[in-house]
């Protein structure tokens, strides 16, 4: 590529520049939306914006955020992983069952659960990269398989007698505030994923794979290996979310987290990641996760019934994909009327 320095390494010419610019402004739009919801909500709704409010919002954000981070990578590469909630559920039951058997070392429990998550993610990765099967179908299958295994492990029982030191410890606040300390873990991981995606060759490879798999392959990017490890990481993060879930609710059941995968996918899509792959950023996703949780809690405080919240979530999702199309149409129409710029680089 002989383009000038304005191009990113994944750009293939003048066509992608407006698209990239559009992507970044999506992040700004979501952040702006978040700020708006926070400001308007705190002003208009009694109880919103208080420290307790943020405590509850953040407790809700943590599991979704943990899973949304790797899910962003998955979707950018052009795949999808719908089994995340089932991995969470199976991890919860594994945790509970081990505890019931008498394993009482928390580090050991966590380690085993994370390892389990890695294995479950590796199975997904194997089917998708090893056998070349479509990830949508594979992860629908593993969604059922893992959730089924969770039922096999714990059946209809619930394991709930964990030491208060663990359960209360998982939601303990940072001294001097009401914010749960666990959010620091989420923040650190978010920064790590952000650096990985936006500032390393691996991250650029992820975008390349999603944009144009053949070009990526010819550029020497190890597509299958990268995708495999992304699935493994997704499994590990889902397991981590599962551990948090078990301790936060102090209850391990086979149906923990059912339906969470749709909430995670909705947040990632709302965050500007394109389902077709190759576009999107972590900032938008993190902001979208926060936005959805804040909005939901604010509306709940404002006595908006659950049914209306369901409609709002769905509408946001639809708007999130229709709006860029509409914006693109408007931009195209505007460009048609603008004089040709002499600084536009030639197509690569």
């Amino acid at each position: 590529m002989s383009d000038a320095g304005n191009q990113t390494t994944t750009g293939t010419g003048a066509w992608t520049r407006p698209l990239w610019a559009g992507l970044r402004s999506w992040d700004a739009a979501v952040l702006l939306g978040l700020v708006l919801v926070v400001l308007v909500g705190s002003a208009a709704v009694d109880g919103a914006g208080t420290p307790r409010f943020w405590r509850f919002v953040i407790l809700e954000i943590i599991p979704i955020g943990l899973i949304a981070l790797p899910m962003t990578l998955v979707i950018i590469t052009g795949e999808i992983d719908l089994s995340v909630a089932s991995v969470l559920g199976l991890t919860c039951t594994a945790f509970g069952q081990m505890w019931a058997w008498g394993v009482d070392s928390l580090p050991l429990l966590i380690l085993v659960c994370l390892a389990l998550g890695a294995v479950l993610g590796a199975v997904n990765g194997l089917f998708v990269t090893g056998f070349g099967l479509p990830s949508l179908a594979v992860t629908i299958g593993t969604l059922a398989l893992y959730r089924g295994l969770a039922s096999v492990v714990l059946g209809n029982r619930a394991v709930a007698d964990y030491p208060p030191a663990w359960t209360l410890g998982s939601i303990r606040a940072i001294p001097g505030t009401t914010i749960p300390w666990a959010v620091l873990v989420l923040a650190a991981l978010a920064i790590g994923f952000g650096v990985l995606l936006h500032a390393t060759p691996i991250g650029r490879g992820v975008y390349a794979m999603g944009n144009n798999a053949d070009a990526a392959r010819f550029s020497g990017i190890a597509i299958r290996r990268t995708k495999f490890w992304i699935f493994v990481v997704t499994g590990v993060m889902s397991a981590l979310a599962g551990v948090f879930w078990t301790l936060r609710f102090a209850s391990a059941r086979a149906d923990n987290g059912t339906g969470l995968e749709l909430a995670v996918v909705a947040a990632v899509l709302l965050g500007g990641v394109s389902i077709f792959g190759g576009r999107g950023g972590l900032v938008g996703v993190v902001a979208a996760v926060a936005l959805l949780a804040t909005l939901r809690n604010t509306l709940q405080l404002a006595y908006v019934p659950a049914n209306t919240l369901t409609i709002i979530t769905g509408s946001l999702l639809i708007i999130s994909v229709v709006a860029p199309y509409v914006a693109g149409m408007i931009r195209a129409r505007l460009r048609r009327h603008r004089p040709v710029s002499t600084t536009t680089p030639s197509a690569g």
């Binding site: 700020v35 208080t50 809700e60 939601i171 505030t177 936060r248 209850s251 059941r253």
Partner: protein, 351 residues
């Protein structure tokens, strides 16, 4: 990337962070609802009483909350609300409990989806000054102030076994139980009592062969009833102590070759079961009035919040038109005995 866009993004990000930081790091605002006056005999006015059922789109809770609880709250001149998740999941309930404790309600009347999972949130709510009353399905006793029990597990078990025994006849036979969700506290308590009841000599001819779970889902209960009949050719009776389960099982039996040959009883509502009593699928079933349950729960909560009772054994309070009630062991208030519905009285009721 254009510098302008990047700059705008940084500004917006900084704004967002500042807003969050400002609200998060300030002092925690003190919680607190209405402080109960010690020993006062009247219920305070303006109490905020919110019902939080297992799930909002469930007709049973629609009756107990909107036709019972609401009436009671209006009688004591309180502020009534019903809220809750659309699906019967414990984590969704926790979210609503957190909302309620922020809204500083005085009384939370909740039917628990899981015995322990909502405890943490309930404790936080109580620390903020809310009184917690459970109804229909209890939590761990440490995280609630009172439990309004619709009937004793013993009473329900005795009634159910008696009804199925009478329906099947003296020869006895195999029976099965079609329950709701496997974690539901109330269901498990009743099933245990039923097993104890079955162990008695007068029920020696009845044999419990299976317990299946319909998850309080109409279609699943239907399929489970179907499965029972397919698996146990000698099944003579089904007990379904859940309104969703018994209605689904009745509908299946009524349209199948087993109608009249396999007996059915359970806890059902008159409106749902009327057709099946009349066509002979079910001879008799039991229940209480869910509206009464909600009504009593509201009054109990109001009495708690007004300081009339504290939830210890022996406390008494008046529950409007239902009369006087006494708190029993384990901070439990009993509504009464189950009522039997059959062909002779089914037409007198409408709920």
């Amino acid at each position: 990337m254009r510098a302008g866009t990047r700059g705008a993004r940084v500004i917006v990000a900084a704004l967002a962070l500042l807003t969050l930081a400002a609200t998060a790091c300030s002092e925690q605002s003190p919680g607190g609802g209405a402080t109960p006056t010690a020993g006062a005999g009247t219920i305070k006015e303006g109490l905020k009483i919110t019902f939080l059922p297992k799930q909002v789109n469930n007709p049973y809770f629609d009756t107990s909350d909107n036709k019972g609880g609401k009436v009671a709250v209006e009688e004591v001149k309180g502020v009534y609300a019903q809220t809750g998740p659309s699906e019967a999941s414990p984590s969704a309930q926790v979210s609503y409990i957190n909302t309620l404790s922020q809204q500083q309600v005085d009384v939370i009347v909740v039917s628990a989806n899981d015995k322990d999972a909502i405890c943490g949130a309930l404790q936080e709510a109580r620390q903020s000054g809310a009184k917690v009353v459970t109804y229909d399905s209890d939590t761990n006793p440490t995280c609630r102030d009172l439990f309004i029990n619709q009937a004793t597990a013993q009473g329900i078990a005795t009634s159910q076994i008696k009804l199925i025994s009478e329906a099947i006849g003296a020869d006895g036979g195999e029976i099965a139980i079609l329950s709701a969700t496997a974690n539901a506290t109330n269901q498990n308590a009743w099933i245990e009592m039923m097993k104890t009841e079955l162990a008695k000599p007068e029920h020696a001819k009845l044999k419990l062969v299976a317990t299946v779970y319909g998850d309080d889902d109409d279609q699943k209960s239907f399929a489970e009833a179907q499965g029972l009949l397919a698996k146990y050719p000698n099944l003579k009776g089904i007990i379904s102590p859940t309104t969703v389960g018994v209605a689904a099982a009745a509908r299946y039996l009524s349209g199948s070759t087993y109608k009249g040959k396999v007996q059915l009883t359970g806890l059902g509502t008159p409106n749902q079961m009327r057709a099946y009593i009349k066509d002979g699928t079910c001879k008799a079933f039991a229940l209480w009035n869910p509206a009464d349950l909600g009504y009593l729960a509201a009054y109990a909560g109001a009495a708690l919040a007004s300081g009339i009772i504290t939830g210890k054994e022996g406390d008494t309070f008046t529950a409007g038109k239902l009369g006087e009630y006494t708190v029993g062991a384990n901070a439990t208030v009993l509504l009464g005995d189950p009522f039997t519905f059959n062909a002779s009285n089914i037409d007198q009721f409408d709920f």
